[in-house]
Amino acid sequence: MSNHLEGSRNSCALHGALQLFEAIEGVIPVIHSTSGCGVQHYLGVTRLSGGNDPFSSPPVSSSNIAEKHVVFGGGSRLREQLKNTVKVVQGDLYAIVTGCSTEMVGDDIPAMAREGREQEWPVVYANTPGFSGDVHHGYHLALKALIEQLPGIWKRKGEFQTRLVNVWGIIPNQDPFWRGNLQELGRLLEGIGLVPNLLLGSEQGIAAWTQIPEAALNLVLSHWGKLPAGLLEQRYGTPSIILEGAPVGSAAVPLLRRLTEQLKLDQIRSEEFITREESLLNHQFARLADSYYRAGFQREFVLVGESAQVTGIGEFLGKSFGLLPRMLIITDNPPDNVQEALADRLSSIVSGYDTEVIFSEDRAEITDIIKTSDVQLILASSLEREVAVELDVPFLALSFPLDDRIVLDRGYAGYRGATALLEDIGSSILAFSNDRLFC
């Protein structure tokens, strides 16, 4: 049965869809719902994701429906809002997203989008009431809308590009480091001669989205990226490589080799690239060694975050950095079969050492688990800062929600992400030990 849930970090479907649309340049979302939905998206999501965006992107357009639109239907209000938005905000694509109230009433959203298109406005729509699911479901709904509706708006010649790779599964803001992570993955793909189609972030606009069908491969970096990859495989026969999280550090090696083989890339070039990246990372490890031993970096830690983050970061810290993953707490609520596979894979990252893998999105439960765990380092969201203070252990916030860090293009994926992790975790351990030393 259902039970009480406190401080969930998974917002509603509408917000998930908004995250995606807002992360594509030139896409103007139009919310068809009550005014609180847009406000809540800012207060509860974007603002808590590393202090990004709202002021640098146009404010979100919203139909702000009132009671009379509930009673008589809000279709005409949406029509008016769409018209005004097109007039005021220049965009390459207008994306209608709906909230709970308008979906309860049953406003005919496809008809409104169709009307817009008849005016030659590029309009897509996604029915995204919060009650239909959480932020991940919303990410799916928005992706589905784009994959299914864009080809009806822009017809492309669609010549197959043997080097083009679509990247899926990093959810903007739900992963506060999404920009940096995507950039680094792009760099790795370019390093072995591929053309990354990152789809989200700076310089990623409609042009990127319309060339999706031409790609040679879909690279999936979380459970949540499987859906778009599946849709594209059905529609265009594009094959996929599926990972449960973006690789961090040397975990990139098998991926780069697999890509090289599967897409018949220049093997020598790839190996040279891998060698360069590996030796740079090893060099960083060597430089870090003094502090590592002096401050006792090798600690038992707990890591709280989405499955993709926990997998990538957890394995890197355990396998390459010598930390001991006491507990991995996964908060994005993946389906049962994925949970089983993750539990299996993550419970023995360090051989001979048992890692507890826990699935929970309940702040109270997560706090209680950490409290009784004896860990010496907490890597989690800002929601866990309190328990870190209480336990008096070093703490680094790196998963959503994040209210005490500015994240511009920092990332924790790939080789640069590995270095960033060493810096950030090392810094918090040092700062913590120094505080204890000097006060």
């Binding site: 509930v70 009673v71 009433v105």
Partner: protein, 291 residues
């Protein structure tokens, strides 16, 4: 809610069963005997009070609310036969919007306008759309708005099923301050077995029939003139039947929390009656023939 002014009564029943006709005639009869009456149609069709008003147009509460921000009582009400204050909540056109929320909004507005304080009614009758299709249509019986609900039914099984559904709603809300069931009004009585069938259903669900309204041409004729039977043929037997109903509602405060039948019970009950009726109609004679 503040101190309630007047007795508030909600009339439910399957679509087309005769709710508006019956309610209007009861209103007319109450008005005739000197009471101040408000009849509120809670139905997007907004035809509840037509025969109290000679068929004239009346802007609905929700239409008015949509068009103007400030609404006055005069804008949304008309005085009909015998001084009955007629109000139509109104609602969206079929297929869009949410009529249930509309009922909510209309009732809220009436409360804001202090219509009961102003008019000081002895009776307020709510004529509510068909079956209880969603929470919105349960508003009159849910929020302590009406004290009693009556259900209009014929001997048709579909009408009985709708009545049973209403009983479920009453059963759900009554314990927390919602309306209780005043009884069943049997309408369009024609077949000889009809009263017995409705009586039996009432007994099975722990309630009672408060009146039997025969199917009568007078009703249809009066309707064509935009009038209640009370107004157009006051001396008729049919008018007398409606007066008796009004008198019952006026003088009797009895109410119960009904015990609706569950789905298998209802099916079984209907099947048994179906067999009996079939036997009567086809002339099989045995001890049940007396129904």
């Amino acid at each position: 809610m503040s101190e309630k002014i007047g007795k508030h009564i909600a009339i439910y029943g399957k679509g087309g069963i005769g709710k508006s006709t019956t309610t209007s005639n009861i209103s007319a009869a109450l008005a005739e005997s000197g009471y101040r009456v408000i009849q509120i149609g809670c139905d997007p069709k907004s035809d509840s009070t037509t025969i109290l008003r000679g068929g004239n147009d009346l802007p609905t509460v929700l239409d008015t609310l949509r068009e103007q921000s400030k609404v006055r009582i005069e804008d949304i009400s008309a005085v009909g036969f015998g001084g009955v204050l007629c109000i139509e909540a109104g609602g969206p056109v079929p297929g869009v919007g949410c009529a249930g929320r509309g009922i909510n909004a209309a009732v809220e507005l009436l409360q804001e306008l202090k219509i009961f304080e102003e008019f000081k009614p002895d009776f307020v009758l709510y004529d509510v759309l068909g079956d209880v299709v969603c929470g919105g249509f349960a508003v009159p019986i849910r929020d302590g708005l009406a004290d009693r609900a009556f259900v209009v039914t014929s001997s048709d099984f579909m009408a009985i099923f709708a009545a049973n559904n209403l009983f479920k709603a009453v059963n759900k809300y009554a314990p927390s301050g919602g309306a209780r069931l005043g009884g069943v009004i049997a309408n369009s009585i024609l077949a000889a077995y009809a009263p017995a069938l409705i009586d039996d259903f009432a007994a099975k669900t722990g309630t009672q029939v408060i009146g039997y309204v025969p199917r009568s041409l007078v009703v249809a004729q009066s309707e064509l003139y935009g009038k209640t039977v009370i107004e157009s043929v006051p001396q008729s037997e049919q008018a007398q039947v409606y007066r008796k109903l009004a008198k019952y509602i006026d003088e009797n405060e009895d109410s119960v929390i009904p015990k609706p039948l569950n789905s298998p019970e209802l099916k079984k009950w209907a099947r048994e009656w179906g067999d009996r009726i079939f036997e009567v109609e086809t002339g099989v004679v045995h001890e049940m023939a007396s129904i």
